[in-house]
Amino acid sequence: MFVMCLAVPAEVKEVRGHIARVDFGGGLIGEVDVTLVEAKVGDYVLVHAGYAIQVLDKEEALETLKLWKELLEAEQEL
């Protein structure tokens, strides 16, 4: 039994119908309902109260990090 009311990211390991086994990291494996999303194995989903509410976009995550770095460097010169 684990208590997590806030939304946390987890990696999808296996999908069976509307239930997926996910890895929350730190050795914590759990089952979540994926009815609300189209999740595949390897995707990162945002889990809130036992339900995946969104698939996290890995490309966008990398893009965000890249943009931040660029922005900081670019404006440094101004």
């Binding site: 806030l6 609300l36 036992g50 995550a61 900081l72």
Partner: protein, 360 residues
């Protein structure tokens, strides 16, 4: 990858940017999410900000804003022998007189669940008992309740719906006027469901800079920087910092489920009064699952605020927990007087658990 969103060097660099971008006047940004308050307090982000830049917490704790009349209703059902299932923190929130935990010590069957699914499984295992799921939470939690209402797998499980919507509460804050907010840090998880679209009104009708933010320390720092740039340039735009989860349209499937199962009605928020079009209520075709109808729940007189408790002012950012005379005196996480101290998403509870005792 997560560590990169918590990178110390980058965080300090953004803090430096914020300092350079900062005007001389006071600037105040408001977030409306318990998890944002947690990130800001946990990582000590306020200590990185200029003295004249304030980040205040709005009504973003889903547990705190449940009116005591609804907690009273759940307590009454529990004492009549109905099994009440709900999320952990709700059990400790005082209603008008009692909390659900106290009702449990008086013999009521009150159970904490992590997910509405747990309530369904429990009800299926114990078909002789009547179950109610006390459904609290914002747009993030409402879709899961909608799924289980539609599945309706346990005939002995009914729903006491207490879901609330965030954008109407943000509008209420602006209506208060006196807060003098310069920008909104909008909640990334609620927005993952509803998308960017519903926030359009803030820059367009209120000229309020609005940035949707994620929950890592760099997400929050960057969203503050994005807001500050708008303030500096005299702009009011809707921007998205949390692009890895939030899109313009949001989770359309979840939105469809919400509108299929619920009507949007006006409803009371604890300490804030009635907010128009801010509350979900089961549609007529699901009224056989509606605990209010089934048990003919009557909402009587209730007490939302205890004498001396400043929760209602803290929830709209008018006061800080450290301004409340009860904070860490009569009101502690072990002896909470108000909902803001009970919940791990409440501002008082977060400050208390992180040892914040003095704050300018």
């Amino acid at each position: 990858m997560l560590e990169k969103f918590r990178d110390r060097e980058l965080s300090l660099a953004v803090a430096e940017k914020i300092k350079r971008c900062m005007p001389e006047r006071k600037v105040k940004f408001c977030h409306v999410c318990g998890t944002h308050e947690w990130t800001i307090t946990h990582y000590g982000l306020r200590s990185l900000l200029p003295k004249n830049l304030e980040v205040i917490a709005g009504p973003g704790c889903p547990v705190c804003i449940v009116p005591s009349s609804e907690i009273d209703a759940a307590i009454e059902l529990a004492l009549e022998g109905v099994v009440i299932t709900t999320f952990g923190d709700v059990i400790n929130v005082p209603g008008s007189e009692l909390s659900l935990r106290q009702a449990r010590s008086m013999g009521g069957d009150v159970r904490e669940v992590y997910s509405v699914r747990d309530a369904v499984e429990m009800a299926k295992k114990e078909p002789d008992k009547e179950f109610v799921f006390f459904a609290i939470g914002f747009e993030t939690t409402a879709p899961s309740t909608a799924i289980e209402v539609l599945r309706s797998e346990a005939k002995n499980l009914r729903f006491l719906i207490s879901h609330r919507l965030i954008p109407p509460a943000m509008e209420l804050l602006l209506g208060l006027g006196e807060l003098e907010i310069d920008g909104f840090i909008a909640p990334g998880h609620v927005s993952s469901i509803i998308g960017l679209k519903p926030y359009k009104i803030f820059p367009e009708a209120y000229r309020m800079p609005t940035v949707i933010a994620g929950f890592e320390p760099l997400d929050v720092l960057f969203s503050i920087y994005m807001l500050l740039r708008q303030v500096r340039n005299g702009e009011a735009k809707l921007e998205n910092e949390y692009t890895r989860s939030v899109t313009w349209d949001g989770n359309v499937k979840a939105q469809k489920l919400i509108s299929r199962v619920f009507d949007v009605v006006s409803g009371r928020w604890r300490g804030l009064g009635v907010i128009p079009k801010s509350t979900l209520s089961l549609k007529k075709e699901y009224e056989h699952l509606d605990a209010r109808k089934f048990y003919k729940i009557k909402i009587g007189k209730s007490r939302d605020i205890y004498p001396g408790c400043c929760c209602h002012l803290i929830m709209v950012g008018k006061l800080k927990p450290t301004d409340c005379p009860l904070f860490m005196e009569d009101c502690t996480p072990q002896t909470p007087k108000g909902p803001c101290m009970v919940s791990i998403e409440g501002t008082c509870g977060i400050w208390a658990r992180h040892g914040v005792r003095l704050y300018r």
